[in-house]
Amino acid sequence: MNQATLPNPGQHFSFTTHSKNIPGNLAIWAAILSEMSEFAVMFIVYFIARVHNPELFFEGPTRLNTLAGTANTLIMLSSSFFVVRSVMAVRDDQLKAATRWLWGAVACGILYLIIKYLEYRWNAAQGLETETNIFYGVYYYVTFNHFLHVGWGTAGLVWVIYRINSGFYTKTEHEGLVNMALYWHMIDLAWITIFPLLYVIR
């Protein structure tokens, strides 16, 4: 093996391939594409369950809390917007502003989790549970899976705030922040797909 191609110990190493013009690095794209595939499988399950149970899927969305679904969509989109503004602020060397935008996104993540929890409780009070019928089975499987992603995604946002405050990122070197931003947008993309499928389309 040619020794010249190996990074020296202690030298900054990353998977970034600037020449190929990839935002973040290849590792995060492998993760994002895997996650998108996982959600795609769930959406295929939804479509197949739907064609076999048209009445249940026609009635299902009417008994869900549209307000909670809509509020969480607005919250997810806003959190993604805050994350974009945070990356822009870092590029502009405005690290304080960048952390403020990120705290906004963290607040959105926490608010999302609270609303989802209240929605599940509201559902339970209406007698809507995983066993009620296959529509609610799919609903709980998909939305709880997404709920977990928002949970660890929010923790990831707190981690990059810590990294900014610890001086790990600069105007030119902030790949970790971009990776986290991309991962968060993936969580947002999954939700904007879930919202029409489960709450709107009949």
Partner: protein, 98 residues
């Protein structure tokens, strides 16, 4: 694009996404279920997905392979919404084991 123009574009797109979501919510509550509303919902999803992929993930001028995969997602899912609405019986037959 200047920094100010970039910020303005992102702010505008955020407002567009919010408006599209409020429109979807209105449709969920008020619109009559039917083919037209299914096509509108699929189109709204395609537009929202494309805005996030192109501008929030900054893939518009990035690596072609990743951009194509991510954009394709928001052609395929909206198309499936329409196809599943139009041909439910046929798809049910294809996905039956017996």
């Amino acid at each position: 694009m200047t920094k100010q123009a970039e910020i303005k574009l992102i702010d505008t797109l955020w407002i567009v996404l919010i408006c599209l979501t409020l429109f979807s919510a209105w449709m969920a509550e008020r619109a009559e279920p039917g083919f037209i509303s299914i096509v509108i919902m699929a189109a709204v999803l395609a537009i929202k997905g494309r805005i996030i992929v192109d501008h929030f993930m900054e893939l518009k001028h990035a690596n072609k392979f990743i951009r194509t995969l991510m954009r394709a997602y928001f052609y395929v899912i909206p198309a499936l919404i329409i196809i599943v609405y139009l041909y439910p019986d046929q798809i049910a037959r294809w996905t039956s084991l017996s």
